[in-house]
Amino acid sequence: MHHEILLLALPIAVSFLVPLLARRSAAVARWIAFLAYLAALAYTLALFPSVMASARAVIVAGWLPPLGIALFLSPLSLGAVALVYLIAALTALYNLSSPGENKRPEGGRSARGVALQALFVLGGVGMVLTADLFNAFVFLEIAGISAFALVASGRPLQSGRAAAANVPVTSVEKKSAAAADSKTASAEPPAEAAPSAVSTSGSLRYLVAAQTASLFMLLGIGLLYSATGLLTLPSLVSHPALKSSFGLLTALLLLFPVLLETKIVPLNFWVGRAYAGAPAGFAASLSGIGATAAAVLLLRMLSVMGSGSAFAGTAGELRGVLLLLGSLTVLVGETAAFREADLKKVLAWSSAGQMGVVLVGAALPAGEAAAWVLFFLASHAVAKALLFLLAGFFAARAGTNRWKAMKGLGRLHPLAAGMFTVGALSLMGLPLFAGFWGKLGVLRAVFSSGGPAVLAAAAILLGTVAEGVYFLRIAHSLFEAPEAESGTPEAEREAPTVGSGKPARAPVPAGVLLPALILAAAVLLLGLRPSLAMRVIAPAARELVSPDEQYAQKILPSGASR
């Protein structure tokens, strides 16, 4: 009984149920989604013991691979699914009462928005689990199309307009907000509020780039199929070799969309405006779920292309190309983050830089850094989701996304700003925080492999310095006393700030505090006790290092790779 398919069936059910049941009230939809993600997370954790004992394939419709489609349950894939559902649940919690800038039931919070977010989560989970290349393409498309819609649904901050106040909801107000939501979340599109040109243009650039990349992946699948007659990734591990130049062309085409989703140079020109336009709750899942799932798929494909026999002729050149791209991404990402004034763009470009480090670690021969790359990826997902959620909160309170204008908010909300600093320090890779172990491990592996890789190490160190500067700059300005140049700051603080229509001093709503606390705790826990996570990450890394006996032979029926 291959019941693990429920990991996919649950978000599908949510996406179908929500528009049907929550026609009247978007709050019901948000609660359904939140509870569903919690249930999925519990189910994933329940699966862990049996999967850690022995990884296994989940057959669909009764047909064995390579002719049928199979999902693969292993420490790597199940760990990634658990991470995806954790961030999905926390983002859903954030959306329950988010003080996000788009308080109207548009964006991620309307019934349709909740259905689209469920499909985005499904795309992430599917991408990580599937062992079939075309199936991965379909899940990339599902995640992509729901991301384009949600990014485009972002609304401009109601700075300067006393629009329906995006009232951060404490329990008392929850009923009134739900009532307000139900009135406006009726069937026809809610009353027209000016859409944001940044969100729509950001979404369109992202859509065109991602669709072009997906079509190139389809070309790669066509080339691979014409040479091997197969679509399943594990059967490439022990398949007769492709011609080296043909193999390199096919490998690069296949990697196009995952390189784009993990924001690797030159495919990351869309990142800035897409993240700036996205609603805050969704920006957290875009980087926490989308980029992480794409990175796991990238690592899975690289492990097959690196040591599988089908791509034996091209492994060397492929590693060289990816090492170069990774280092460039670190430099481009960090300098772009350094120069940005919009907080969400800073975080978006910073996660591009971090993904560059992941690619450098993944491109090392024989995957020595595989365990630390996975640890780095997990800690990045958690810390970046934390920062995006808090950025949404600060932006709502300051009425703008520019971090310079958020001066002094830290004094009003020391806990929120403190957690922001925890996330920032972890991303910089300081000891005591999760990011430290990952970055240290990757750097050690890069130095030990010598040769051109040392340049990549230099790029990573430069990137860390840039991270240090811009993260501390933001944290400092949060805690800085608001200078007195604009009239009496205290009085101005008392008056409802234009952005949130809610005094900046008002307490942090539970919907923001709880997810942030959980994520910050996770960052600290991973930092202090990395061995906790290593119990899952070590076997996952073994899977990437030796794809033959840890991956291919567990999926394909005995020896039937043809």
């Binding site: 009984m1 291959h2 398919i5 069936a9 599908i12 059910a13 996406s15 179908f16 149920l17 528009p19 049907l20 026609r23 057959i59 669909v60 419709a61 009764g62 047909w63 064995l64 002719l67 049928g68 489609i69 548009e106 309307s110 349709r112 928005g113 259905a115 689209l116 499909l119 599937t130 075309f134 199936n135 379909v138 899940f139 498309e141 599902i142 199309i145 729901s146 384009f148 819609a149 485009a152 649904s153 069937a187 026809e188 599109p189 027209e192 859409p195 199929y225 014409s226 040479a227 091997t228 007659g229 197969l230 007769p240 070799a241 492709l242 011609k243 130049s245 043909f246 002729g313 043809r562």
Partner: protein, 255 residues
């Protein structure tokens, strides 16, 4: 009057596209050792096992035989492409239905309310009288294509699109989509999706894997063949028809 940098972009794009073409051409025609383009000849590919329906069991010693009227095949559909789409690789098709569902709800969420321009021409009487007849034909053809997907070319997607074109004709004939109709369509769409998911879960409960067949495969070539494939493709047809009509209604704009 093209600006200077527009010309630069054009030249740069031309160079990039030419370089890609040359690199791909060389890579595909290189005569190095190893497999290249079209080296797995069409008949020797594993996909021949879809044709001879020997995916699960190895072919009998006398070589696989598939013929109309034959019974007991692992998949009773005559149209091999439909068998691959709706039975062997059903997860792809489920994913694709979700892509269309995401697109339809994305359009519903994002499309601005239409501000009608004054010059809204009324549909001419000829169109208004002809449309019901054409609609009837389109519905019949669409229903046929959906229901006979496993016997002749066609199936849920193309049949659903033909049925949707019947509704689109109705919009062109001047009867604007009303909110009540749109709500009905989106309810039908979600219901068909849930039914599809339920069929998959019944397969999981009865035969142990998601979307596994739990009905007899019947005789190849007859209508009642292909086990649950007919149900799956019909539900997909209903869902696609409802989605595309809803999508078109959003684009055409309400009253």
């Amino acid at each position: 009057m093209k600006t200077r940098n527009e010309i630069l972009i054009h030249l740069g794009a031309l160079l990039l596209v030419a370089a890609l073409a040359v690199a791909a051409g060389l890579a595909v025609t290189a005569d190095e050792p190893g497999l290249g383009l079209l080296d797995a000849g069409v008949e020797s590919r594993p996909s021949a096992r879809y044709v001879f329906k020997t995916v699960r069991a190895a072919p009998p010693e006398g070589g696989a035989v598939v013929e109309p009227g034959g019974k007991g095949y692992e998949n009773g559909a005559a149209n091999i492409v439909t068998a691959v789409v709706a039975d062997y690789r059903v997860l792809d098709t489920l994913g694709e239905v979700l892509v269309l569902f995401a697109a339809a709800s994305g359009v519903g969420l994002l499309i601005p309310i239409r501000r009608r321009s004054a010059g809204e021409r009324q549909a001419s009487p000829i169109v208004r009288t002809a449309v019901p007849l054409i609609m009837f034909l389109a519905l019949i053809t669409g229903a046929y294509i959906v229901l006979h997907g496993h016997l002749s070319p066609g199936g849920g997607f193309s049949g659903g699109a033909v049925i949707a074109s019947a509704f689109i004709l109705r919009f062109l004939a001047g009867r604007r989509p009303d909110p009540r109709g749109k709500r009905l369509l989106s309810a039908l769409e979600s219901a068909a999706g849930l039914a599809l998911l339920t069929v998959g879960l019944i397969g999981l409960a009865v035969s142990g894997t998601f979307f596994a067949g739990f009905m007899p495969q019947g005789t190849l070539g007859s209508f009642a063949s292909g086990g649950i494939l007919v149900i799956v493709y019909t539900l997909i047809g209903i869902k696609v028809a409802a989605e595309l009509s809803g999508l078109s209604a959003d684009f055409v704009g309400g009253k």
